[in-house]
């Protein structure tokens, strides 16, 4: 429902923008050209004012929506609706979608709107164009879910599920699958509620086993809903997740693995980090061998080097016997800290500090230098500036300590960050700072000028 607003800006303004850019592309100004282009577009006839005013009306609605003036928007909607009677069937077709989106937006937010009004609106809009039926049904169901009316939503989806319209239905297969999957999701919801109830029961209770059996059979029924959708390429995270949960519950581990593997590795599917996360978590639950876990995380590392699972990846690599894995472990940590979102991640810094020490102890200076080479130019300003030193110290002394240690090791004793932390004569960390000084002296990759 919320991403309507993004799409809303498109339909009306799209062609305007194209035309403007076509006109002003060369930097010259031709005031008559726009009119001329319009004339060509309308085959020489003057653009009808009907089109003009409904266009103006549309922009008034957009403005009102932007300013959250729902009443005003509704007022203009009244006038805009006449576009559904446009003599041009193409325009009518595209208008349907705009009317639906704007109208549902207004009805969603309007203080005097109710579910009943929304329902009547949706039911009317569904029947305007054949191709809109499923889309609107689905969005209608989402609205109902949003308002907690799960049963209504489910009924709605069942209705949409059985919708067929000759050859048109084949072109909308994905939509039908999506409708089914949402229905499945709703069933999953009730299923997981029952599962919760079950967990409250005593395992030795007689009722437990029957209830468990019921739940299993329920999950079987539900999983059918997901089947078709999951086979079509796309991003189906919530569906896959619930599907797998139900499969696992009913003991079908192979099935779950198959679903997750194809979801993660099938080339027809778009790259989706979550697919790998789900697979990894599943394998972890399964206590799969480390090599398998590593291979999953390696792909995730390539897609999202800043993922929080990278810390786990690092730990796995660290424990590995292979040298290249251990080298990668360092790269993973550096890569993680390249991202602005991780600058305050104390665990990452802690890992890096200890790992640096460990690696340098093992005389792998070259590894560190290799990683540092590309970051030398920007990390000092990015992580180890005077500003950061001050704010880190103020907010998190442990973090400041870890960072100072790393700064000292990578940049030498002269580094600003290191010096600033060193200067802080704090009672509690005196010992720590002393230790830090020592290790910096020992491991710094910067050779002190002799």
């Amino acid at each position: 429902m919320t991403d309507f607003s993004e799409e809303l800006t498109r339909p009306g303004s799209e062609d305007d923008q194209v035309e403007i850019s076509a006109v002003s592309g060369t930097g010259m100004h031709f005031p008559w050209l726009q009119e001329h282009l319009d004339a060509v577009a309308t085959r020489g006839k003057k653009k009808k004012e009907f089109a003009q005013t409904t266009g103006a009306c549309l922009s008034f609605i957009k403005e009102a929506l932007l300013k959250h003036q729902w009443q005003r928007a509704a007022e203009y909607m009244c006038s805009y609706l006449q576009i559904l009677e446009d003599f041009d069937s193409n325009k009518r077709q595209s208008a349907t979608e705009i009317v639906w989106k704007l109208g549902s937006e207004v009805l969603f937010y309007h203080p005097e709107s109710s579910t009943e009004t929304f329902n009547t609106f949706a039911d009317q809009m569904k029947n305007i164009g054949v191709l809109n039926y499923l889309k609107i049904s689905l969005q209608h169901a989402l609205y109902l879910i949003h308002h907690g009316m799960l049963e209504e939503a489910s009924r709605n989806l069942s209705q949409a599920e059985t919708w067929r319209y000759g050859e048109k239905s084949s072109s909308q297969e994905t939509l039908i699958n999506l409708v089914q999957a949402y229905k499945g999701l709703l069933e999953y919801f009730s299923w997981s509620e029952r599962k919760m109830e079950l967990s409250k029961l005593d395992k030795d209770d007689y009722a437990y086993s029957t209830e468990a059996r019921n739940i299993v059979s329920h999950s079987w029924k539900t999983s059918v809903n997901f089947n078709a959708l999951i086979k079509t390429p796309g991003v189906w995270d919530p569906f896959v997740k619930s599907y797998v949960e139900m499969l696992e519950f009913s003991g079908d581990r192979d099935g779950a693995r198959k679903v997750l593997t194809s979801y993660a590795y099938d080339e027809k599917f778009p790259a989706n980090p979550n697919a790998h996360v789900y697979l990894y978590n599943f394998l972890k639950r399964e206590k799969a061998p480390r090599a398998k876990l590593l291979s999953v995380l390696k792909i995730l590392y390539q897609i999202v080097p800043s993922h929080k699972l990278m810390l786990e990846f690092h730990l796995l690599l660290k424990k590995s016997e292979k040298e290249e894995h251990r080298k990668l472990g360092l790269a993973v940590l550096f890569g993680l800290l390249d991202f602005a979102g991780c600058t305050r991640n104390i665990t990452a810094w802690k890992h890096l500090a200890s790992y640096l020490r460990q690696i340098l102890m093992q005389n792998h200076l070259a590894w560190v230098q290799e990683e540092w080479k590309s970051r030398r130019n920007w990390w000092p300003a990015f992580h180890f500036s005077y500003f950061w030193a001050k704010s880190d110290w103020k907010e998190d002394k442990d973090l400041a300590y870890e960072k100072a240690l790393i700064a000292g090791m990578l940049l030498g004793k002269g580094c600003r960050y290191f010096r600033y932390i060193l200067k802080q004569d704090h009672q509690g960390v005196k010992k720590k700072i002393k230790l830090m000084k020592k290790s910096v002296k020992k491991y710094s990759i910067v050779k002190p000028p002799c």
Partner: protein, 588 residues
């Protein structure tokens, strides 16, 4: 109700001899005792709808039910007649003299039908087009298609007077004396009217086809003939404000006049009338009708620049004293002459004056004379006025261009926004949906119903008090009041600050002037000059925009008119410029 209607029929039932008739849904009589349905239908018998015998005779033919739609057989020109009638009625309620409708417009329309050979002539265009048919029908045509003498037929009343029966002495045009349309054609291309298809394909040299904008041109011609106090821009503004039926005018056709298929292209209008378009139509129609010279526009007529300038000075909130100057410019340019103001369609180059645009242009020229409008002089003059007004608070205040600009800018911007909002909310679609063919009919009606339902739903959520009430018609768009600080009035302000006494005469303080156009376009494209906004001073742009908004015309049109006045006012200058360019050409 049903029983009452059925009492009209006093015949006995052919089956059971009872006299107790009821009406079926199709308007046919049926016997209530034996349920025998007769072939007689109500329309034929009920003479209330058909006011006289002659028309009744035609109506029997006209009201035959067509194959697809239950309705009358009607002709396109009847549709226009209906629209004209409504427009004339609306004009009457706006306060225009009833003669405009009953005499002038009526006669123009009659003349039009005659000239375009649609009626009142020996050989109407439709009959000649379908000769075979004519031969068949000649017998019963002959007694009422014998031409202009029908004009004196005082018996018939028609649509034009349907609203005002009292003027039954005025002759009225007859509905189309044309034969029935071949029904077989109607299968693929169809129309609700009998001749919709032929009409839309009708091309004849020298004939001006009537269109919906054409009806407005006819209305304007009648107003002009009567020298009514309505300008073309007023007329069009009333149309836009829905005081005169135009866009959905077909909506109020009688229920039996079905409108679909090709009629849609003829009667459905999706644009407001455009000033220049209607203006062109007016001249075109007037020449086509071969109208004689119109009544003289003399100094006491509303359309004379002296009177119109007063109106626009008031509307634009400018000092009354400016009127003296506009008067003088009118005199100097000879624009107040009866000959140049009076419309004469028979003259070689038929041309009517755009009275309203001309008056506005005159005011612009005077403003240029007084304030130069070069984005400098008007502001320094404003400074002087401000200082003077500050010092002499009791005197009549000097007109201060700056304060005037500030007031006007604010009010016009507000008004424009309201205007745009009202336009955006305009409901274009009629209660009767239009469709291409019978297949579309149910879809169109269903769509209409759905839109109405949706509209109901959203209007319930809109503000309970509609923001745009229908404005009562007024020839003034602004109201200025002395005591209202929001819309202060400048009418009483004096021009002393911008005039100098020189001997017995007053001269303008500003002695400079710039011409809006140096050269006039001589090509056939019909524009006089080009108006590229950015080439002109901001004050000039503002003033052009102000007046073009008041008249609902393009600024370029007003600019053209200003240039034309300047051409007359500075004749010498222009002829010199011409000479110069000519001599230069020779040298080259």
């Amino acid at each position: 109700m049903e029983l009452e209607e059925a009492k009209e029929l006093k015949e006995r039932c052919s089956q059971c001899d009872a006299i107790s008739w009821g009406l079926t849904e199709e308007g046919k009589y049926y016997c209530t005792s034996c349920h025998n349905v007769t072939e007689r239908s109500k329309e034929v018998i009920n003479t209330d709808i058909i006011p006289n015998t002659k028309i009744k005779y035609i109506s029997r033919g006209l009201k035959r039910k067509s194959k697809f739609e239950k309705g009358w057989d009607w002709y396109v020109c009847e549709g226009f007649q209906h629209i004209l009638c409504q427009q004339a009625e609306a004009l009457k309620t706006l306060g225009v003299a009833p003669e405009v409708k009953n005499e002038v417009l009526h006669n123009f329309w009659k003349r039009y039908l005659q000239k375009s050979k649609q009626a009142y002539c020996a050989n109407p265009v439709y009959t000649s087009r379908r000769k075979a048919q004519v031969l068949e029908d000649r017998v019963h045509h002959s007694d009422w298609t014998n031409g202009p003498e029908l004009l004196s037929d005082a018996n018939c009343t028609s649509c034009l007077e349907s609203g005002a029966e009292s003027q039954s002495d005025v002759p009225a045009p007859k509905p189309f004396p044309a034969p029935k349309a071949p029904q077989s054609e109607a299968a693929s291309v169809c129309s609700g009217s009998v001749d919709g298809i032929e009409y839309s394909e009708w091309k004849e040299k020298g004939v001006v086809k009537m269109t919906v904008p054409g009806t407005l041109a006819l209305c304007y011609l009648s107003l002009l003939w009567q020298r009514e106090t309505v300008t073309l821009s007023d007329l069009l503004r009333f149309v836009e404000e829905d005081h005169i039926p135009y866009i959905k005018a077909f909506q109020s056709f009688p229920e039996e006049m079905k409108l679909y298929g090709r009629d849609k292209g003829i009667f459905a209008i999706e644009s407001w009338p455009d000033y220049e378009e209607i203006y062109k139509h007016t001249i075109e129609i007037a020449t086509f009708l071969d109208l004689p010279r119109f009544p003289d526009i003399t100094e006491d007529c509303f359309l004379h620049p002296n009177v119109l300038c007063v109106k626009y000075l008031m509307e634009a909130n400018l000092p009354d004293e400016m009127h003296g100057l506009t008067h003088q410019v009118t005199k100097m340019t000879g624009m107040g002459d009866v000959d140049s103001l009076t419309f004469d369609p028979i003259a070689k180059a038929a041309r009517t004056v755009k009275y309203d645009v001309q008056a506005a242009a005159l005011i612009v020229v005077v403003l240029k004379l007084l304030f130069l409008l070069d984005d400098k002089a008007e502001w320094s003059l404003s400074d002087l006025a401000e200082v003077h007004n500050e010092k002499n608070k009791t005197d009549k205040p000097w007109f201060n261009f700056r304060t005037w600009y500030q007031v006007m800018k604010k009010s016009v911007d507000e008004k424009k926004l309201k205007w745009e909002e009202a336009r955006a909310k305009y409901m274009w679609k009629s209660k009767k949906p239009l469709y291409f063919s019978h297949i579309d009919k149910s879809v169109a009606y269903k769509r209409r119903e759905m839109v109405v339902n949706l509209q109901k739903q959203f209007s319930a959520l809109a503000n309970s008090t509609p923001t745009v009430e229908k404005k009562s018609p007024s020839s003034f768009q602004f109201r200025w009041a002395k005591d209202d600080p929001a819309r202060p009035c400048f009418h009483g302000h004096s021009l002393q600050g911008v005039l100098l006494k020189k001997g017995p005469a007053l001269v303008t303080k500003n002695s400079l002037y710039w011409l809006s156009t140096q050269k006039f376009c001589r090509s056939y494209c019909k524009h006089v000059t080009t108006y590229e906004e950015s080439n002109f001073s901001l004050s000039y742009q503002f003033i052009l925009n102000l007046f073009s908004f008041l008249l609902r015309i393009k600024a370029a049109l007003l600019h053209d008119e200003v240039s034309l006045i300047e051409k007359k006012l500075f004749k010498k200058k222009y002829s010199e410029a011409k000479k110069n360019s000519r001599s230069r050409k020779v040298k080259r």
